[in-house]
Assembly symmetry: C2
Homo-oligomer: 348 residues x 2
């Protein structure tokens, strides 16, 4: 069934042997690329991801320009709460804003149950168009925020430093938090399979705000919902990547979610992670995104250090430990990709 | 020599038997207390810590008001770069600012070598006055930023989201970074013993920005400097607490710094930490600071959960995993302190 010209990424997700380590970059379809900024000048962020032609175009840019081994659909994790009726706004320089954040039971009651085939049709249209235009060159990754990460945005309403509002909610009204988390889990568990059915070859669940929780709270408010979603999505063969930023307390518990791949941020050691996990999952990561500010010689040293730290064998997808920064030189991103391609075969 | 009425904190730092778990709170002398805000209305932040009478007064407030087992001198980690000639400014709502951040060799050359007995005399005067006014009721903790954390502030010049400037510096001009880190280490290694000689009973090193580094970079740019400082300071008997926020990759490496106590943030499990460390250090922490938003019943549950997670025996100092938030109800802080006092004896 797979007719992909380059399926290294998918094989690595499944811990199958590959001739070299595949590589892609979180936020690779983004502002660091002048070709992205050229489109962004003509359309705002929301218009870009709601217009399949524009979404497909920027999704494919990094495949052509920097040579990544997988494309990731240009979209936003907040499409789900937006579709549930929360009306997402993007304010230049301030990030996403929900003008009416979730604070009460009435706010939760007002959320609508979504049908991704109807309410998020523009995402699925973007998937279909991107797949067509990619023409089987590399796999396409779809993604979703975790219920906890979505809830955090929905309750805070905008960027936060201390996350005081969401924390107050879980400690004073945990029942309301769980009610919304259930709704979000149901939505994500419908959304990801719809993306897979439309054509994405793998999915990544981003738990961007998992790291603000204590281990005890993580096991109450985030991990069980992700585990539930994965158990639903896993009825298909497409690999699932689970990236919990800043969640370091126990990788074996994250692996027990059923994910095929764990994404690692740059503040942990990939060698230790591999040892601890004993082959339970593949690993994706985990170069410090700011290393791309360094001269190419230093970038090369770091690529080799991470490849060597992971060590020989299968199951590694090279990536940054977080999204690429908007002021990064695309030449350095491309250099990193090429170093992975050149240096990784000797670790296989 | 110790004539302290309450030396629970010091005995716990040394892993000696205590009848209950001692407790204090990071940022306990702070804005959440109306008595602090009353003084803050009359003097700005810098005037407060530069005036021994005011510093002593707010340092002692939480001992009287919420009943902590240790006082921590009201001061700021940035007094050192300020004394080295960087001229710290505090902008309301924006935090600390260095108008001329370190960017070049010339900026480093302009830093002056400090003599804490002269250049930071106001801190030592505050220590002496506080000790006198505390009248041996509880121990007094002094503190410093780690060289890495100080460098981060000195290079960024103000608050940062991505820490792009400091990261660019370490990757493009590591020699300059190490040069300034050496100067800062020398300054801290003079400063902490001066504080001890003047009367503080323990010191805490805050590595607030350690968590932005990869494990590999942490071992190059932060840990060796802290280890060096500790080896100098340790010629005295006063315990040293090392709190590296967001540094989770290897607690045994942090313990090898020679610190008597490791401070833990709330995103790790104190039970696991104790097991991993095999008694090499005492542990301080690690309740999620936002739990204090919860009703008292929930705070009590969490206190018991952490006491029980640490388990029976000595070597635990209860604290939050990060500073108390400014909008917290002091009654809840006090309730937490009392729950620790009431519930901890059965874990001894």
């Amino acid at each position: 069934m797979t007719t992909l010209q380059n399926d290294l990424f998918l094989r690595a997700c499944r811990r199958e042997k590959t001739e070299r380590t595949p590589v892609w970059i979180m936020r690779q379809a983004g502002r660091y690329l002048p070709q992205y900024r050229a489109i962004r000048e003509k359309a705002d962020f929301i218009t870009m991801y709601k217009t399949p032609e524009l979404a497909a175009e920027v999704t494919i840019q990094p495949v052509d320009i920097i040579g990544v081994d997988a494309a990731i659909l240009f979209s936003d994790i907040l499409v789900i709460p937006d579709a549930m009726g929360m009306h997402l706004e993007m304010h230049e320089g301030k990030g996403p804003i929900f003008p009416h954040p979730i604070r009460t039971k009435a706010d939760s009651d007002a959320l609508t149950k979504i049908d991704p085939w109807k309410d998020l049709k523009y995402v699925l249209d973007a998937v279909a168009l991107t797949k067509k235009e990619l023409n089987n060159r590399v796999p396409l990754i779809g993604f979703s925020g975790s219920p906890w990460t979505l809830l955090t945005y929905m309750v805070e309403g905008k960027g936060s430093k201390n996350f005081a509002i969401i924390k107050k909610l879980i400690y004073t009204n945990p029942a309301l938090a769980h009610e919304v988390l259930e709704k979000l889990s149901a939505a994500v568990a419908d959304y990801l399979p719809a993306k897979i059915e439309t054509g994405v070859d793998a999915v990544q669940i981003f738990d961007t705000w998992g790291g603000i929780l204590s281990p005890h709270d993580y096991e109450e408010f985030s991990l069980p919902y992700i585990t539930k979603i994965i158990s639903t999505v896993k009825r298909t063969i497409e690999p699932i990547i689970f990236f919990a930023k800043g969640v370091h307390y126990d990788l074996t518990k994250l692996a027990a979610s059923g994910a095929d791949v764990l994404g690692l941020d740059w503040t942990c050691d990939i060698s230790t992670a591999r040892t601890v996990l004993e082959g339970k999952t593949a690993l994706q990561g985990n170069m410090d995104p700011t290393i791309l500010y360094a001269p190419k010689k230093r970038i090369k040293e770091e690529v080799i250090r991470i490849l060597s730290s992971y060590g020989r064998g299968s199951g590694h997808i090279f990536n940054l430990g977080h999204g690429i920064l908007p002021d990064m030189d695309p030449e350095n991103a491309k250099a990193m990709i090429n170093f992975v391609k050149e240096e990784s075969p000797r670790f296989k």
